[in-house]
């Protein structure tokens, strides 16, 4: 049924929202901006056969295939396949203001690897 199909699709590997709020760990006294950011995370199944949009590697396809006949071998993992940077403005240990670009802070895409 459409309902089941929807549920099944939602269980598959995809990107989920994850907002990191710096004030939750009381870091907002030294991080000037941003107050927090949307980091996202990857979660979900990597079922056999792997769909094209799951950005799988050849190895992930082979591993998933082996898993379908031998469950001792785990399925491929749902992981970030594309990440982007964020800039942060903060005061360092010496009270100096720093604007820095940090790579691989935001998940842009997930896939089975």
């Amino acid at each position: 049924s459409p309902k089941q199909r929807g549920r099944k699709r939602n269980r598959n590997c995809r990107r989920h929202a994850l907002y990191v709020d710096f004030s939750d760990v009381n870091w907002n006294d030294w991080i000037v901006a941003p107050p927090g950011y949307q980091a996202y995370y990857c979660h979900g199944d990597c079922p056999f056969p792997l769909a094209d949009h799951l950005n799988s590697t050849n190895h992930a396809i082979v591993q998933t295939l082996v898993n379908s006949v031998n469950t001792n071998i785990p399925k491929a993992c749902c992981v970030p396949t594309e990440l982007s940077a964020i800039s942060m403005l903060y005061l360092d240990e010496h009270d100096k203001v720093v604007l820095k670009n940090y790579q691989e802070m935001v998940v842009e895409g997930c896939g089975c690897r």
Partner: protein
């Protein structure tokens, strides 16, 4: 307490969660401490920063952040909120295209002497101001590409303005101090110079890269920078020393924030990790 709280609960103030043995709680505390240390190292910090009350975030770096992160575009008419600090703000495209880290430094006033009479410009009788910047917080792995000294100048009121060709012209000279044998004598070399009219309020940016690269890359002694402001109309002009804000005490108006008007040294560098600070639109 909250302002200086951290990821780690204060010793003696935290209570073990109900049912959790003391050993397990200690282990959990250590785990959190390791977790925080790992995060701080990820950000390139040795320990958790504890900003002092006197810490000032320069408006220039805030503007850079907003433009770089795309926040300014999202906010819409950024110019509508532009204050005096935004005057003449231009995104340093060339400098940021090669840098992933921008650092702001205010000069160390307590290490500087009083204005030096006519020292940087030889025979000139205009005062030169010496600025010492402590750049020791720049990590060794960070390779600087450029550095600018930003100086604020404020429009001279029209009622007081004199008419005439050169009456409103000021020359700003920025020198690197190569040696400072005596307080009243400096051996300098000119880094940048500009002729400005005192009919506008804006920040002027001077290229001081050669000096800052000598101090950081070549590890040569940092004797600071000297800034000289000459009024073309002569030292006796009523405008002499009134247009360019290089000193705390000069004509400070009530409510004026010297922390936001004082000279600012900005360094652009790259630590070899990731992409430069290219300007981007907010997703």
């Amino acid at each position: 307490e909250r302002s200086h709280a951290s990821l780690i609960p204060e010793e003696g103030k935290s209570r073990a969660p109900t049912g959790l043995p003391a050993a397990a709680h200690r282990q959990s505390h250590e785990l959190l401490r390791d977790f925080e240390t790992t995060l701080l190292h990820m950000f390139g910090l040795q320990r958790r920063p504890r900003p002092s009350r006197s810490a000032v975030v320069p408006q220039y770096l805030l503007d850079l952040y907003r433009l770089q992160s795309g926040e300014a575009e999202e906010a819409g008419a950024a110019s509508a909120t532009a204050g005096p600090h935004d005057a003449g703000f231009e995104y340093p495209e060339r400098s940021t295209s090669r840098a992933n880290t921008v650092r702001g430094f205010h000069h160390e006033e307590h290490l500087e002497q009083l204005p030096l009479e006519g020292s940087a410009a030889g025979e000139s009788s205009s005062p030169s101001f010496r600025f010492l910047f402590n750049l020791s917080s720049i990590p060794e792995e960070e390779l600087l590409s450029t550095a600018e000294l930003r100086i604020y100048r404020e429009r001279v009121d029209e009622e007081e303005e004199e008419t005439g060709g050169d009456e409103d012209l000021h020359r700003i000279n920025v020198y690197e101090i190569l040696k400072a044998p005596h307080a009243s004598q400096l051996i300098t070399r000119l880094l940048d110079t500009r002729l400005v009219r005192h009919n506008s309020t804006r920040w002027e940016s001077f290229d001081v890269s050669p000096a800052v690269l000598r101090w950081t890359r070549e590890r040569l002694p940092n004797h600071g920078l000297a800034v000289e402001v000459l009024h073309v109309g002569g030292a006796s002009s009523p405008h002499q020393g009134r247009h360019v804000r290089v000193s705390r005490s000069l004509h400070q108006k009530p409510g004026e924030d010297w922390g936001q008007l004082r000279p600012l040294l900005v360094t652009f560098g790259h630590d070899g990790k990731g992409h430069p600070l290219t300007r981007r639109a907010k997703r």
